[in-house]
């Protein structure tokens, strides 16, 4: 194979596969131009699954599949542009695809054990992905931490699942959601949910189950970090969706079953769970933001930012109405482009010989204006500046919380205040890039096209940028779809 590297072949296959899957998912979602490719009849989507089903196709699940595939696609595409033809390419792309598979399966789960196992597929693949540069002590240290906390969380999740199983005699999500609060042992179930929140909260980097994330995002190869932050962590959110929201699920119990203020269940603990999720959401976004403020390293700052974003997403679950779910999903979608994109830029910049500290980015605005602008756009989006998807997604989310009334309004206020706080650390990066003078010595970029970035990575970044702006300026086509999916999901569930 003259001129074509091993990496490029493997990666090309991965990219092609992901692209094909994404196309099919889009077709199944009812994207009109791809109607011919539809494999899943519309009648099979968004029906209430049988009580024995392990998986079911919901619009929201398909949306999440699409989101995961997009994240993986971005990362795979960017990974084609690596300076050296590493041996690990096969493992890297293989594990990436496996993790993506696990994520997509999680998105369509209708059974708790199925869900947890799918999450575990993602977990095992990502532990190894983090550690795959097997000579890098930082990467291995990160993998070790990731693994230990991850395994602990797995144990907690399964322990929680066992309690639910004990309470209701089934692990089917529909059974669980319908049974909840009416039969069984509420305390047992609540404890089970508590442990599941902890175990899955690890994936979603909720505080205080988040501490691993910073070190792992920092230590992992940056492309992997992009995948972790943009892709695999969202699997936790999917799990929360499936667990807590459905046709007569825990959280939707409030509007659906309480008629005239009378709730038919003897022990309706949906409000309790909502409260717990709300508390965790607020704590998560606050801690993430406050800690991000003083970070000196770029990746760690972005990691904390990612944690706070998880808090926003969880807010959607705590509120639990269809608009909130749409908002949270939109936030996830936006976050794929923002955060994955940001980490891909970080990887590109690291490839240019720039150090890990934020201050090392001095003067990037002058040296690499296009790259810096792309990064700035991503940060502005993360900060929630208008005309970017980050603003609109937060807006949709918070307004949904306000629409739900009650104390959810205060969740929205907390969210807004937090995004206000977050602006400062993003702004600091902008300042460093554009205001501070360039260092004297600038290392030579590697021998890749486009000044050391490479076509593929540039394309991935460009896709992210275009998506951020496009979704920020005209969100309605996508947002409308998400809203419809969320409505279906609330009505029919997993």
């Amino acid at each position: 194979m003259v001129g074509v590297r091993r990496l490029e072949i493997l990666g090309g296959v991965a990219v092609a596969g992901l692209l094909a899957s994404l196309t099919l998912v889009l077709a199944d979602l009812g994207f009109a131009p791809l109607a011919a490719l539809r494999t899943l009849p519309a009648a099979n989507v968004d029906v209430i699954p049988a009580t024995s089903a392990l998986f079911s196709f919901t619009s929201l699940g398909l949306v999440f599949e699409g989101i995961f595939l997009t994240a993986a696609l971005l990362v795979a595409l960017a990974s084609l542009s690596r300076p050296s033809d590493e041996k690990g390419a096969a493992v890297f792309f293989g594990l990436l695809l496996l993790a993506t598979l696990g994520m997509t399966l999680a998105a369509i789960a209708a059974d708790l054990i199925f869900l947890l196992l799918a999450v575990e597929v993602v977990g095992i693949s990502t532990y190894l992905l983090v550690g795959y540069p097997r000579r890098d002590p930082r990467g291995l240290e990160a993998a070790m931490k990731f693994y230990i906390v991850g395994a602990l969380s797995t144990a907690l999740s399964f322990f929680g699942a066992s309690l639910l199983f004990g309470a209701y005699g089934s692990t089917n999500l529909v059974v669980l959601s319908q049974a909840t609060g009416t039969v069984g042992y509420p305390a047992l179930a609540l404890a089970g949910y508590g442990l599941l929140i902890a175990g899955l909260g690890f994936k979603l980097t909720l505080v205080p189950f988040h501490a691993w994330a910073v070190d792992v995002y920092d230590g992992a190869p940056t492309d992997v970090t992009a995948f972790l932050a943009g892709g695999s962590k969202k699997v936790g959110l999917v799990a929360f969706f499936l667990l807590f929201i459905g046709p007569v699920s825990l959280v939707v119990v409030r509007p659906l079953t309480c008629v005239g203020g009378v709730c038919p269940t003897p022990f309706d603990f949906a409000p309790t769970l909502q409260l717990a999720l709300g508390v965790v959401a607020v704590v998560t976004m606050t801690v993430g933001n406050v800690l991000a403020l003083l970070q000196r390293e770029m990746k760690r700052m972005l990691a904390y930012s990612s944690i706070s974003q998880a808090g926003y997403m969880l807010l959607g679950i705590a509120v639990g109405t269809a608009p909130a779910i749409a908002g949270a999903t939109f936030q996830v979608l936006g976050h794929v482009f923002m955060k994955s994109g940001a980490f891909l830029v970080v990887a590109a910049v690291a490839g240019l010989g720039v150090g890990p500290l934020i201050d090392d980015w001095r003067g990037l605005g002058q040296r690499r204006p296009i790259l810096a602008t792309a990064f700035a756009l991503m940060l502005l989006s993360l900060a929630g500046i208008p005309l970017t998807v980050g603003f609109l997604s937060k807006f949709v989310l918070f307004s949904a919380a306000v629409e739900a009334q009650g104390y959810f309004v205060w969740l929205a206020v907390a969210g807004v205040l937090n995004s206000a706080l977050s602006v400062f650390y993003y702004a600091r990066v902008l300042k460093v890039m554009y205001v501070d003078p360039s260092p004297e010595q600038v290392p030579a970029p590697p021998a890749l096209p486009l000044g050391g970035i490479g076509y593929a990575r540039a394309a991935a970044i460009a896709i992210a940028v275009v998506a951020i702006v496009a979704l920020g300026v005209d969100p309605q086509p996508v947002l409308g779809g998400l809203q419809s999916a969320a409505n279906h999901f609330v009505l029919t569930g997993p």
Binding site: I148, L190, G194, A198, P271, Q274, L291
Partner: protein, 679 residues
């Protein structure tokens, strides 16, 4: 009304001539190689203004009345405001009535003469384009002020003349004292201005509320004949404290502009400007605008008795107070400046006593003889290059024209018949005298005004003798004096003639119309006296009490003679050591220490407050905010330490989280949910 009506329609042209000069000279002046051309442009246009101005004045004499020409809506104030549900319009227009016609004549005539004189006087200065432009702008504004047909327009031009005065006082801006004097003038008058503005507001609201002045206010503070009598009925019904305050605010504005106590401090310092400027602005016209304001106010708006007493008090006191300071001044211009303050006091006094046109008459004569004195002094200064009286001496031999002119001016100022000053000053005294019976509180101020007559005669002749008499200059270093060019001599001659004749104008029927009774007393006197003087009361100047005239002439003559005795030989005496007069002299030379006090207030008190505020700003307000920021940073730093890097700790956080969640879900949660009202 008459065949001459078209003339009053031209009134708007008068200020436009100097405005054109301002534009031409201001924009084109620096391009002219020989600037005399620019000066002549200004002179020519001011001449045109004078021609039209005098024509209008004559027209008013021949056909007395109030002629308004409101052509432009300046801005529309949306309603509801005050009592006007649909708002009102602020307009720009002209109003010609006897008062403004009188004033117009003064301004245009003196303006032209000073402009002409400047050609010679300012010949050697640089920055002439600026000079002529600013002087033309001043004329524009002053004429605009005179012709204003509403109070807002009045205020607008009032401020503009102030700023022109500022620039012209600071004409020699390289001199720190000039720059400082300019600032001082602006600031002190500004104090009066803002109070004036407050007065405008009060009138606006009060007239509007009373309903009768709706026409006045609805048209935007517009003057209209008939408002005054309305006020008379308003205030006799219930002496409105609001209106009293409004009147006092007008007085404050007038005091600032006309340098009345206690806002008089700026005028002597304003002598830092060129003498021509002193003559035009700080003697004849602008400083008289305060009196004009009071006149306009009394005619169109009216004063309450309390206001009148206050005005009389200010005027009477200032008259004497300023005269005392003039007595010891070594600077020829300052002597005349204090004299101006004192004379303005007479005018204010007359207006306060209810005899508006008497005050205006004194303003009229004063403009000429004071301009004359200043221009004559300018001639002297031009010749010898100093303003210090004690250095001059014996100038009469070299400067015959100036000598005579100054003498005429001094006689007129002192009130020696038949010079112009005699008639007007006599009227002023008579007007106050006529009110004494009605209002005993006027007595002290009448006596002060009488005393000032003596002082006037003394101080102006002291200056006269010191400058012109004796054998030779006391300072040998002075250059040989010589008369100025014809452009300087002509104004002196013309003004001398006016200083002699202006007083006699009252006996000339057309001119007398301007001072006719219908306009003189308005509706104020009834309010004051409780006696309806009616519209046909004989003019005051016709009832001059001969005894009073005799006393005043005697006092003036006494003053002149005292000056002759002390200074007539042109010699200078030193006060003997330990003389009881020495501390008095020091007090007077230091202007009763009022300037020191004001400077202390301005530079120490206010500035200290400002410094303290700045300190507070930087250390308390900003410091608090920095402190909050710092606290946040420290908190964040503390939180950062929880990321120990040890994975066991991370696991511990997880376990803690589990415990927290279980506690929340099993125990606290239901309780909180209940407390929140069911979520």
């Amino acid at each position: 009304m008459g065949a001459l009506d078209f003339l009053f329609g031209w009134a708007f042209l008068v200020p436009l001539f100097p405005a054109l000069a301002f534009v031409l000279v201001g924009l084109g002046g620096t391009r002219m190689k020989r600037f005399e051309w620019g000066g002549w442009v200004a002179v020519a246009l001011s001449f045109a203004a004078m021609v039209v101005g005098v024509l209008i004045g004559v027209g008013e004499m021949l056909s007395p009345g109030t002629y308004t020409d409101t052509s432009t809506v300046w801005l529309t104030v949306p309603g509801p405001v005050g009592p006007f549900p649909n708002g009102f319009s602020l307009v720009m227009g002209t109003l010609v009535d006897p008062v403004s016609a009188l004033m117009l004549i003064v301004v245009t005539v003196v303006g032209f003469l000073v402009m002409l004189y400047s050609i010679g006087y300012m010949h050697h200065d640089h920055g002439l384009p600026r000079y002529y432009a600013e002087l033309s702008l001043f004329l524009t504004a002053m004429i605009g002020l005179v012709l204003s047909d509403n109070l807002l327009e009045f205020f607008l031009f009032w401020e503009l003349v102030g700023v022109c005065s500022y620039f012209l006082i600071g004409f020699y801006y390289e001199k720190p004292s000039a720059a400082s004097a300019a600032k001082e003038a602006f600031l002190v008058t500004r104090v009066g201005d803002v109070l004036f503005l407050l007065g405008v507001f009060i009138y606006f609201a009060t007239y509007a509320l009373a309903g009768g002045g709706a026409g006045w206010a609805a048209a935007g503070f517009k003057f209209a004949s008939g408002n005054g009598p309305f006020l008379g009925s308003l205030v006799t019904g219930a002496s409105s404290p609001t209106l009293t305050v409004a009147g006092l605010m007008m007085l404050a504005g007038a005091a600032g502009k006309s340098a009345q106590f206690p806002l008089h401090v700026w005028l002597p310092d304003a002598m830092e400007g060129p003498t021509t400027v002193s003559a035009l602005i700080h003697a004849a016209t602008m400083v008289a605008a305060g009196v004009y304001l009071l006149a306009v106010t009394s005619l169109f708006l009216g004063f309450t008795p309390t206001d009148q007493l206050a005005i009389v008090a200010v005027g009477g006191f200032t008259t004497f107070f300023a005269a005392t300071m003039a007595v010891v001044q070594p600077d020829i211009k300052r002597v005349i400046a204090y004299s101006t303050i004192s004379q303005l006091g007479y005018m204010v006094l007359a207006v306060g006593a209810g005899f508006t046109m008497v005050g205006m008459f004194h303003l009229f004569t004063h403009a000429f003889f004071k301009a004359l004195l200043f221009l004559a002094a300018g001639s002297v200064i031009h010749a010898v290059g100093t303003q210090d009286l004690f250095k001059m001496g014996g100038l009469r031999k070299h400067m015959r024209v100036t000598y005579v002119a100054f003498l005429v001016g001094a006689l007129s100022l002192s009130g020696i018949p038949p010079f112009a000053g005699f008639f007007s000053k006599d009227d002023v005294l008579a007007s106050v005298y006529s009110q004494l019976g009605a209002h005993p509180a006027y007595w002290p101020f009448f006596l002060l005004a009488l005393g000032a007559v003596f002082l006037t005669g003394y101080y102006i002749f002291r200056a006269f003798f010191l400058a012109f008499h004796g054998d030779r200059p006391r300072d040998a270093a002075l250059p040989a004096a010589h008369e100025g060019p014809w452009v300087m001599r002509v104004p002196l001659v013309v003004l001398s003639a006016l200083a002699v004749l202006a007083g006699l104008f009252v006996f000339a029927p057309p001119f007398a119309h301007l001072l006719a009774p219908g306009f003189t007393v308005g509706g104020i006197a009834p309010a004051l006296q409780g006696v309806a003087l009616g519209a046909n009361v004989p003019p005051v100047y016709g009832t001059t009490d001969l005894a009073l005239s005799a006393v005043s002439v005697a006092l003036a003559g006494g003053g002149v003679l005292t000056a002759w005795r002390l200074w007539g030989n042109g010699r200078v005496y030193a006060l003997p050591e330990g003389s009881p007069a020495a501390p008095v002299r020091r007090l007077l030379l230091n202007r009763y220490y009022m300037k020191v006090g004001y400077d202390w207030i301005g530079q120490r008190a206010v500035y200290s407050v400002a410094r303290a505020a700045d300190f507070f700003e930087q250390f308390v307000i900003d410091g608090t905010i920095r402190g909050i920021e710092g606290t946040f940073a420290r908190m964040s730093d503390g939180l950062r330490r929880i990321q120990t890097g040890v994975v066991s700790d991370y696991a511990a956080y997880v376990v803690t989280g589990v415990i927290g969640l279980l506690l929340l879900l099993l125990f606290l949660g239901p309780w909180i949910v209940t407390a929140l009202g069911g979520g």
